[in-house]
């Protein structure tokens, strides 16, 4: 039994009228498309006519370049940890947007370079085979193109390292630190856009807009990725209090600090944790809070699957902790109904445990379904049982049969256990395969998609 039971104070904090907050994803996407349309409009207004194929190729290069420059700013913005994105759209969804738009931007950059250099080669009376020579000539002749070429080289390197098969073979930390070079890429490639881009040379307003776009993204990155974490950690000064083994392979880390109830974390959210211990200093990992924040205590519960999570077991009390957050949108704010079903798969129990303790609701409104391989793997079971008893909530588990057979989680079994399942909000956290299976079962049992709230960090 851990030292972190009973959450009346935290529950009172989240006890408020149920008013689901809509994710701002749709208005944001509309703004992004409008911006892209504006960029194309800029090209349209500055291009009188296209005489021949050479002009068409050069202008295709201009369009891809403009779009790539625009998207590059957004790709960085998506990783600026802006609260509206992290806490309302959801960190998982934003990370998927980032991966998708990043790949698309790199494709545009490559198309832009090839088309523009081919166009210049044609203009100089050379052919497609002279692209490399033309690139060398242009880098020598045009302002800022040398920097842009270095930046593009780095970008291609980052892209290669992020491709599935390569990515799986290199350690996460190495990949992450190479990925940070993207900031250098953005800086190096920015200047040639203004000095050689036709639309920015002839259109001072466009130039101003471009400065504003890149300037505000830079400001947001500095504010939310540098200053905000700095302030948070100076204010709360967190340290490891104790490490507790919950079940074989699952540990809880208790973290103390000053005024932790003022850290602004809601149950269901996570922080990115960096433990200032030898060998762990340079990597930060996202772990959900497995209990509502107390004035002097936070808790995370982690399953040893990677190097980092295994090393947590050896943490000494007193180790300093650097945290960034809170992030994540899987909170009580998503809820739209009185009744809630929480579904946890394995160590996905952590945010569900915090929500189970704090989601407002009368006796009988809350149900938690906990899936694990065996009953020994049901981490935190004792405290879940205690919460269930205190709150009059239902607690169910599904484990493999002694023969290793998987439990049947289907629309029918869910409906049999919870006849009014279609009147529930469902919060879900677990491995991707499990989440997909439960999602389909829930949809089959009549739960609308908009009331299934889940977080998935699979790309």
């Amino acid at each position: 039994m851990s030292t972190i039971a009973g959450g009346r104070a935290a529950r009172r904090q989240t006890m408020r009228r149920i008013r689901p907050r809509r994710s701002p994803a749709v208005p944001l996407l509309i703004a992004v498309w409008a911006g892209a349309a504006g960029v194309l409009w800029l090209w349209w207004m500055n291009t009188p006519s296209l005489a021949d194929n050479n002009a068409k190729i050069l202008n295709a290069g201009r369009i891809t370049g403009l779009l790539a420059g625009y998207l590059m700013a957004l790709v960085v913005l998506q990783m600026a940890r802006v609260p509206a994105l992290e806490r309302r759209v959801g960190s998982d969804r934003v990370a998927r947007w980032h991966a998708m738009s990043g790949r698309y931007t790199i494709s545009l950059v490559v198309a832009h370079v090839v088309l523009t250099m081919y166009g210049y080669a044609l203009q100089a009376g050379k052919g497609f085979g002279d692209i490399v020579g033309q690139t060398v000539d242009s880098v020598g002749q045009l302002p800022d193109l040398g920097k842009a070429a270095i930046g593009t080289g780095l970008l291609v390197l980052i892209a290669l390292l992020s491709m599935g098969p390569v990515r799986r073979r290199i350690p996460y930390d190495a990949w992450y630190h190479v990925h940070l070079l993207t900031y250098a890429v953005v800086f190096l490639t920015f200047w040639h856009q203004l000095s050689t881009g036709n639309d920015f040379v002839v259109e001072p307003t466009a130039k101003t807009f471009w400065y504003a776009l890149y300037g505000s993204v830079t400001a947001l990155v500095l504010w939310y990725r540098v200053l905000t974490p700095l302030r948070l950690n100076l204010r709360h000064r967190m340290r490891v209090e104790a490490v507790i083994e919950e079940t074989p392979g699952v540990v809880s880390v208790l973290i103390t600090g000053r005024r932790l109830h003022r850290i602004g974390a809601e149950p269901g959210q996570f922080f990115r944790w960096r433990f200032l211990a030898p060998g762990m200093r340079f990597s930060s990992h996202p772990y959900s809070l497995s209990a509502a924040p107390r004035p002097n205590m936070l808790r995370i519960t982690v399953k040893a699957i990677g190097d980092h999570s295994s090393a947590l077991r050896g943490l000494r009390p007193g180790t300093r902790v650097w945290a960034e957050g809170p992030y994540g949108a899987l909170t009580a704010q998503r809820r739209s109904r009185g009744k809630v079903l929480l579904v946890a798969g394995g160590v996905g129990i952590t945010p569900m445990r915090a929500l189970f303790e704090t989601l407002p609701g009368a006796a009988g409104d809350l149900t938690l379904l906990y899936r694990a391989n065996t009953t020994q793997d049901l981490a935190l079971w004792d405290e879940l049982a205690q919460i269930a008893q205190e709150r009059g909530a239902r607690l169910m588990y599904a484990v493999n049969s002694p023969e290793g057979e998987r439990p049947d989680i289907s629309a029918d079994t869910l409906r049999r256990k919870l006849p009014d399942i279609d009147r529930h909000d469902v919060f879900m956290c677990g491995p991707p395969g499990f989440a997909q299976q439960v999602y389909e079962a829930l949809r089959g049992a009549g739960v609308p998609a908009r009331r299934i709230h889940h977080e998935s960090f699979e790309m």
Binding site: P48, S49, S107
Partner: protein
Amino acid sequence: MKKSHPIRRVVLASAATVSGIVLLLSLKPSSGPAGAVADGAAPPATAAAQESPQGGTGQKAGATTVTGDATQTQYGTVQVRLTLAGGKITKAEAVRAPSGGHSTEVTDDAVPKLNQEAVSAQSADIDAVSGATYTSGGYLKSLQSAIDKAGG
């Protein structure tokens, strides 16, 4: 939790981008009407005017100017203005020339040379400047039309 179809997404994104760009390019006219404002909001690029080899600053008494037709090139419009005194070309200048990015460089390099050549050749029989084939071609056409106007 919709199923994701990465391959389908890649194919759709590529197809949409390529067809969007092709559509935009094909909507543009292949050449604008002569004399249309070609450079959008860009101020007309006036390349440095060349003084006549005969000396003399500014326009002499009795000097006339004649402006050639605006000629479209793929990088923008070229238009030549000649200053004539006593039937001789004393000055040639480009009142319009392609500008913006790479074009500005090409123009800054090529137009003064073309001006110089026009004054010394006293005709449109001048060489194109290498690296500025299109701009030179437009310049020659406009120069010829200006000479025709002056002669006619």
